[in-house]
Amino acid sequence: MMKTLSAKFERFGGVMLLPVILALIALVLIGRPSTWVTLTVAGLAMGMMIFLMASGLSLIFGLMDVLNFGHSAFVSFGAFIAASVLAWFGVWVSGGNAILNIAALMAAIAAATAFGALAGWAFEHVIVKPVYKDHLRQILITMGALIVADELILMIWGGAPIPVPRPAVLTGSIVIGDVSIEIYRIFAFALGLCVYIAMHFALNRTRIGLLIRAGVENREMVEALGFRIDRLFIAVFMAGSALAAMGGAMWAGYQSLITTAIGAEMMILVFIVVIIGGLGSVEGSLLGAILVGLMANYVAFLFPKMSLASNMILMMAILLWRPFGLKPAVKG
């Protein structure tokens, strides 16, 4: 009985079904379809933003066995840089001209992403490189870097919450029937999806992607074949950091008021996502991020106080079922 059930489950898409199942359960519990649609869209958008932050971390770990506890520093820096750039553009952001709006937004996201890539390069060289293959010191040293980065943010932007102006074209919501959907959420979802598709394409259709996947699978073998995995790793580290900063920028726009706690808040969700999804796998990160995003929004509506705890319980449950995550790319 259990066997046929699990075989059926695998045939219909296996773990990829989980978000659908979660959404259906939520539909029953919530009862009102219009609320459900709003929450689902919010959850998907949130999931996509978390995916941006989580995928880099997961890949970095998968490729080089490096877990960067300072990853959230890129998220915070991305958020604050985006906020500053948007504030600097002033009337371009708040004005009615859609093209200027989008230009300002793109500039903000690009600035955050570029900073993420550059800072990632520096971070890799200064902080991570001396402690390859030593997990304990890696955790400690990236933690130290996180402290320093948080303090730098406090020093530059101060401790008070900073408002993030949202481009006029992305404010407001679309109303279909009695369902209203915030435009920013659609934008966040679309951007996340584009990044995912680009990553999927890069990993599965290009030579570099092939090398990255091979490196995640068996680094020594790839090195023995004469490829410089460490150079590849720097590129992956930069890309991962840039994505984290991009995710931070998007999240800043979504929150519209950011504090220095943003990095720590997101870090927990990112960790849960990476653990649920399985280390080293981009698909796993996407799956985990969407599960976490949906869960957070449904539970925040149904049982407001349980919001973060619910994701923890989700993680525990999934760990009991699959100790290495849903779609692990690295074993053990």
Partner: protein, 370 residues
């Protein structure tokens, strides 16, 4: 794994130097111990008492963390969670049952039971996988606990925490030994009142807990833990159940942390997320253990003493520095007392790079880690 020989400490030629180093470490620990033992008489002012009590509690907390990170090689970020469980257990019981030792015992026991259950669950669930995985799981668990503590405000007092009264024995108005004039007897100019009893309550229990930990690391269990740290596979192959040992030490360390939490609550007469659960406390513990030296109990003592003194007194120095450099651009910002964590972070990174064995480990040429 085998590069222990490259640590500066393990070269035989340096044996003499390490004898001297060992002596310095023991002398420092002895000095700290004596200073703490006679703190009410040596440093009678209130702030110094607070510093001394904090050092006592944190020595226990950091040493118990060192059992995990230094002796067994487990990186956990949930240590404040257990610290908090103990503190909240005592606090809630003291609030509900009124001030009395029965409340401390009962609440503390509840906190410890919760700690054991939670630690065993987390341990069995995730200690079988990679170290890094465990670190992430504990980090997530700890932050959820913090959110719960601030949201369940009916029980925990929320963000504001809760204040409560402690047994009357500990109040300054209570004379321990009454002199001829009917007031508390004075010894070396210090009144023997409830404040002294309050401090020695914290000090003696901390001392007992610390001695228990010294016993643990010297026992066969301690040796097995070090074996697991050095080579997990080999330990497993010899026949030690690595997961069982790891879970056991995780539970032991958690219980000791919970005891430290009870002490902290009783000392402060207050429990809130900021003083027992916040991530800053976890960072403090990490910094203390790394500065002092992982893998030696003495390192915990030294690390806590240095860090706590710096936390309380370095800020004053930095404030003076800010005032002195007020005319120079940017420099006052860097010297602002609020920025002291920045400097600490930098020192921490440099320490992990150059002296991974910490102060005690480097001096004694031992411990630390592969």
């Amino acid at each position: 794994m085998s590069n222990a020989a490259t640590l500066p400490g393990t070269v035989p030629a340096a044996a003499n130097r390490h004898l001297a180093g060992r002596f310095i470490v023991y002398a420092a620990v002895l000095a700290i111990g004596l200073a703490l033992a006679f703190a009410p008489f040596l440093f009678p002012d209130v702030r110094a008492q607070e510093v001394a009590a904090r050092i006592c509690v944190f020595i226990v907390l950091v040493a118990s963390y060192d059992l995990l990170i230094g002796y067994t090689g487990i990186v956990s970020f949930a240590h404040t969670m257990f610290f908090g469980l103990g503190a909240y257990g005592a606090a809630i019981a003291l609030k509900a049952m009124g001030p009395g030792f029965d409340a401390i015992l009962f609440g503390g026991a509840l906190g410890i039971v919760a700690t054991v259950i939670l630690a065993a669950l987390i341990g069995l669930l995730s200690l079988r996988v990679k170290a890094i995985f465990f670190a992430m799981v504990t980090l997530a668990a700890a932050s959820v606990m913090m959110v719960l503590a601030s949201q369940l405000s009916a029980i925990t007092g929320g963000e504001d925490g809760m204040t409560f009264t402690i047994p009357r024995l500990f109040s300054p108005a209570q004379a321990l030994v009454t002199g001829e004039d009917g007031k508390a007897l004075r010894l070396f100019g210090v009144a023997l009142n409830g404040r002294v009893a309050h401090y020695y309550f914290v000090f003696i229990i901390s001392l007992i807990l610390f001695l228990i930990m010294l016993r643990i690391v010297a026992s066969p269990l301690g040796t097995v833990l070090e074996a697991i740290r050095e080579n997990e596979m080999r330990a497993e192959a010899i026949g030690y159940r690595v997961v069982a040992y790891r879970t056991a030490i995780f539970c032991i360390a958690a219980v000791i942390a919970a005891c430290a939490g009870i002490l902290r609550a009783v000392w402060l007469k207050y429990t809130g997320p900021d003083v027992v659960l916040s991530f800053d406390i976890m960072l403090d513990i990490l910094l203390m253990v790394v500065i002092g030296g992982m893998g030696t109990m003495w390192g915990a003592v030294i690390g806590v003493a240095i860090m706590t003194l710096a936390q309380y007194y370095l800020k004053d120095v930095m404030a003076a520095g800010t005032a002195a450099t007020a005319d120079i651009p940017f420099l006052p910002d860097l010297l602002n007392p609020d920025r002291w964590l920045l400097w600490l972070g930098l020192v921490f990174i440099l320490l992990v790079y150059f002296f991974p064995a910490g102060i005690a480990g480097t001096l004694m040429g031992k411990g630390g880690h592969k």
